[in-house]
């Protein structure tokens, strides 16, 4: 790994990362502040009056809506959070290879004594740090602001969510990196990756109505994202760890292999 490339990867996105951290912390605080005033049976009645397909759109159905986990999942973590963090990691990933090759800055890096594997590993390390920071900003803020509103996460739930959130982003960003290593242009790479996640999301919703639409089955990254249950005290399902872990490992390894062999101008 090259520390210079690693530092530069994050430094060049410093403003965006700062805004994402502030935005996620603010959103978390808003939810923590909002939950005690709306939580409970009234909220559950309101939510359950909605059609199941609509609920699924916001990441609901597997959990009780009267709980804090259900509220957070439907109002925040089920859809909006995914959109926010995926936009962050996919922009990072699409710039990492495809974007820099298309705009020519990769040539500056690769004309120096640094190998492709080092460059790719450094970019992946940057993605890992970005994922960790955004996950910590999300769930750490819940824990930080929670006591003021009598909202608390258990220590186990907090660290499980931080780790699972980071792994989810690493898996999503990994797919983004893989696409980025294959195509030219950040817009194209980001567009394909975003389209893939939109398809997973749509498949997740429609599969609620028809099994025929469950194109991704057990490898749907969106379906496996169930943080509400963890907030309510359940453990993360082992299959979720495996799915995100394997997706991240395979896609990132493949992105290194492809980037190491392709034309970079």
């Amino acid at each position: 790994m090259s520390w210079t490339v690693f530092r530069a990867s994050l430094w060049q996105r410093r403003t965006a990362i700062l805004w994402y951290v502030v935005g996620l912390a603010f959103y978390s605080w808003l939810m923590v502040w909002y939950w005690p005033s709306i939580g409970g049976s009234e909220y559950q009645k309101l939510i359950e009056s909605l059609p199941p397909e609509m609920l699924k759109m916001f990441g609901g159905t597997e959990i009780s809506f009267g709980t804090m986990g259900g509220f957070f999942q439907v109002e925040y973590l089920g859809l909006m959070w995914m959109i926010i963090v995926l936009s962050a990691v996919l922009v990072y990933a699409s710039r990492s290879f495809a974007g820099e090759i298309a705009d020519g800055t990769m040539e500056l890096t690769l004309s120096q004594p640094v190998s492709r594997v080092q460059v790719a590993a450094s970019r992946i390390a940057g993605l890992a740090v970005l994922s960790g920071v955004l996950s910590l900003a999300t769930f750490g803020s819940v824990q930080l602001f929670g006591p003021a509103y009598d909202v608390r996460l258990s220590s186990h739930a907090l660290w499980s969510l931080v780790a699972l959130g980071a792994l989810f982003m690493l898996a999503g960003g990994g797919l983004g990196m893989l696409i980025s290593a294959c195509v030219r242009g950040a817009g194209k790479a980001g567009g394909i990756a975003a389209g893939l996640f939109a398809l997973m999301w749509a498949s997740d919703i429609v599969s609620n109505v028809s099994d025929l639409a469950d194109f991704f089955g057990p490898v749907n990254l969106v379906s496996a994202w169930q943080p509400g249950a963890v907030i309510d005290g359940a453990s993360v399902k082992p299959e979720a760890w495996w799915l995100y872990g394997l997706t991240a490992a395979v896609s990132l390894a493949a992105s290194v292999a492809i980037f190491s062999r392709r034309d970079a101008a």
Partner: protein
Amino acid sequence: MAGVIECVKLTKYYGKTRGVEDLTLEVPQGSVYGFLGPNGAGKTTTIRCLLGILRPTGGEARLFGERVRVDGAGLRSRVGYVPGEIRLFDKETGRWHIDYVSGLRGERPAAADDLIERLDFDPSRKVKELSKGNKQKLALILGVMHAPEVLILDEPTSGLDPLNQETVFQIVEERVRGGATVFLSSHVLSEVERVCDRVGIIRDGTLAAEESVRSLLDKRLREMTVTFADPVGAEFFDGLAGLTRLEQRGPATFVARVKGDHLDEVVKRLAGARVVDLSIQHASLEEVFMEFYRGESGEDQAARPVDDAEGGEPR
């Protein structure tokens, strides 16, 4: 001794589009090799293969006798690269780029401050605020500041004013005196004349010829426009060797193309009449190519320059 820079049957295709084809050349240590060709001839593709940025479709590129690989890095520690149109990180400053490249090389740049001063470059400004010329100065600083053994320059003076062009050539000449091997790509003949020992001419992706600079200079064409005081006929020029084209533009005005080594005869012939206006310009490199590397039928004669004068080694 093997060349420091070598291409052996180097071929690069972008899909079905030809970049370079069967390119073979060798640059000995300590020499200054000019790589001449019109835009789109394959100069930048060759350089990118030499740097491992592009993967050759066939053949190989070598530096210091070792094959260049796209996933290799070690060879590039001995090479400095100055692209003609550098792409930089817009939001960062010149100083950031200097530190970035130094970080990648793992060494402090010995000559950065000296180059900054000589090129009158302000490293505190962000790249997005820099003019094309200033970006080119930064490209030169980044490529040269570590005093590399091999300097690869791809049209290094593009966008620079004449004063800075002069500074660039001074810097290159200093590096040559310091023992560096230089590979200078250009489509400007006068740039190559100044610093190079030997010239490779690339056209349509193939090496059309390899010449000494002296030989190339002899082949240089002049475009002459002459206006006589009194009308004369085209027969005035009859029997003159070295005229490759003659066109009458009015009763007393002619435009002629003259080969470099026949200028003296033409001037002496002109002295036989009263001339009221005369201009002589160097023909462009493209015109030199057209004249010397294309047959009358329009077919390429890449393997045999028409005028195979002294020192030329046609391929």
